[in-house]
């Protein structure tokens, strides 16, 4: 039987690195924003009657393992995570760090690169309209184009604008998620 909570060493390494480099205040905000994001997914899955089998914590982030669902449900559940972060912007006067990190998390996850939430939502939306092979091809081309644009933009920001390594790290993380194992029944 699969474990309900599966912690990968990559997740521990990335979290430890963030904990080490970021101020405590920002690290706490990051954990809260990530929890809010996953809570958004979980709430949508429960509301739409989709089974949650467990959660895997990987270097690229947390992944909810779910039961099978149709494309309409997948679209809604994928968008629910970033939506939760955006709804939490209502707390911007009370906890601005949480909202700032949540905004970044929502923006990153809305990139149309499968298996990020935006890519998953885009693919589910395409599958509602187009035949499967066409939807998958369009989704893959969009993801490749976005990854290329991100890589170019990240190199320009880091090299020409001297904004540090964070754009390159964000682009690398996106590309790693894109070429990683195809997530079936995960969110």
């Amino acid at each position: 039987m699969p474990r309900r909570l599966d912690v990968g060493p990559g997740w521990a390494a990335v979290t430890a690195l963030l904990c080490w480099l970021c101020p405590w205040r920002v690290f706490a905000a990051f954990l809260a924003a990530a929890l809010c994001h996953e809570a958004g997914h979980a709430a949508a899955l429960c509301a739409l009657g989709v089974r949650i089998d467990g959660i895997s914590l990987r270097a690229g982030g947390a992944v909810l393992r779910t039961g099978p669902m149709d494309y309409r449900r997948e679209l809604l559940c994928a968008l629910a995570g970033p939506a939760a972060n955006l709804l939490a912007l209502a707390l911007r006067r009370v906890w601005p760090d949480f909202c700032l990190v949540g905004l970044g998390l929502a923006a990153f996850n809305l990139l149309p690169v499968f298996p990020l939430d935006g890519g998953r939502a885009l693919r589910a939306a395409l599958l509602l309209v187009f035949p499967e092979h066409a939807a998958r091809a369009i989704s893959a081309w969009v993801a490749a184009a976005v990854c290329l644009l991100l890589a170019g933009g990240a190199i320009w920001l880091s090299a020409a604008e001297h904004t540090g390594l964070w754009p390159v790290l964000a682009a690398a993380l996106t590309a790693l998620r894109a070429v990683g194992p195809d997530g079936k029944n995960v969110l």
């Binding site: 474990r3 599966d6 912690v7 990968g8 060493p9 997740w11 521990a12 390494a13 979290t15 430890a16 690195l17 904990c19 080490w20 480099l21 970021c22 101020p23 920002v26 912007l89 911007r92 006067r93 601005p96 760090d97 909202c99 700032l100 905004l103 920001l157 880091s158 604008e161 001297h162 904004t163 540090g164 390594l165 964070w166 790290l169």
Partner: protein, 94 residues
């Protein structure tokens, strides 16, 4: 009890690390990092500017202007500028 050795047809035998060992390794890693953060804060201070860059303040200021132009966005802009200031607070002048 689950055997740590699993059969993968066509790929020979492969050893998997049991969950408890992975959890223990993760906790050890976290403890080591917390120890580093507490006892050697200057190491992180030297690395932080690499992460946000010497001109990252301009990015933070531009982001701050952008979100402040939206109704109620000023707290987010201030948080971004504070974050950048904290990340470079202990950096040695170049």
């Amino acid at each position: 009890m689950e055997s740590p050795i699993q059969e993968y047809p066509g790929k020979g035998r492969r050893t998997t690390i049991p969950c408890a060992a992975r959890l223990a390794a993760s906790l050890l890693l976290c403890a080591a990092v917390l120890g580093c953060k507490h006892f050697y804060p200057e190491t992180a201070s030297r690395l932080r500017p690499w992460l946000v860059g010497k001109d990252g303040g301009r990015t933070a200021a531009a982001f701050s202007r952008l979100v402040s132009s939206v109704e109620g966005g000023a707290p987010l802009g201030r948080a971004a500028e504070t974050f950048y200031a904290e990340m470079t607070a202990d950096a040695a002048p170049s």
